[in-house]
Amino acid sequence: MSASAALWLSIILGSCAQVFLKRGVTPSGYSSSEQRSYLSLLRSPWFWAWAFSFVIATGLWLLAVARIPVSYAFPMLSTGYVIVAVLSILLLKERVPAMRWIAILVITIGVVVISRN
């Protein structure tokens, strides 16, 4: 696998992991007011989907940064913020107001500036 393929797969899988976790801690949908205990999370397939994706994404990330400069790889991580926002709309029915898109854009610019300096 090429290093950039590993990088992108890592970012996409890492973003999916966060969406899986969110789905796992809200058992009856996004509007649920009920809470789950930590141990009951172990019975949720979404929790395991999170754990599995997280471990694979971390492995792919290490594979990628072994061959790609970190100063290039790090700002790429911010595309994960956009992926998570899009997935949260499509899969979790989250509402993403305009201000949140602006905030995501500003944070991404900040991350790019940090890693270019």
């Binding site: 973003s15 966060q18 969406v19 976790l21 969110k22 801690v25 809200t26 058992p27 009856s28 007011s33 009920e34 809470q35 789950r36 205990s37 930590y38 141990l39 009951s40 999370l41 790090f74 911010s78 994960g80 913020y81 998570v84 926002a85 949260s88 709309i89 979790l92 989250e94 509402r95 993403v96 107001p97 201000m99 949140r100 602006i102 905030a103 995501i104 854009l105 500003v106 944070i107 991404t108 610019i109 900040g110 991350v111 790019v112 500036v113 940090i114 890693s115 270019r116 300096n117």
Partner: protein
């Protein structure tokens, strides 16, 4: 879906409940999210410190033995514990707020690492990097005004 009440008490609860199932502690999600980011950054730093030591004391031998040697280093274990605690806090924060809100503010990680490097190890932080840190903080501040739909009392 009503979980078994006895199980509920025995579990490490989310959030903490007393025997009748009432919440006895409301950890504000703000602190949970910030704590999770801070602990993740510190955990990484401690693991890195421990690995540097473990690598220097590793004996030649099979790869599995060396991996075990790294993983059982007390400093690495401490780092893993800190990182694990951060993960528990993150799970709590995710249960309280939209993921599209929480995930981008993990960029504060870079801010913590840069300022931590400066004040703990005296590392130089360039002006451009300070500018980037300022922009991330601005973005996280803007995020606070991006809707409170899921915030609980």
């Amino acid at each position: 879906m009503t979980p078994d009440a006895r199980l509920e008490v025995r579990d490490l609860p989310l959030p903490l409940r007393n025997t009748t199932g009432q919440r006895i502690l409301r950890a504000p999600w703000e602190w949970a999210a910030l704590g999770a980011i801070l602990l993740a950054a510190s955990g990484h730093l401690i693991i890195k410190l421990g690995l540097a030591h473990a690598v220097s004391t590793a004996l030649p031998g099979p790869i599995l033995g060396r991996i075990l040697h790294y993983a059982l280093n007390p400093v690495v274990l401490a780092g893993l514990a800190v990182y694990g605690t951060g993960t528990l806090l993150w799970i709590y924060a995710v249960s309280q707020r939209s993921i599209s809100f929480l995930y981008p503010i993990t960029a504060l990680n870079y801010v913590i690492v840069a300022t931590g490097g400066k004040f703990l190890f005296g590392e130089a932080v360039s002006q451009g990097r300070w500018a980037g840190i300022g922009i991330v903080v601005l973005g996280v501040t803007l995020m606070q005004f991006s809707g409170q739909e899921e915030k609980r009392k």
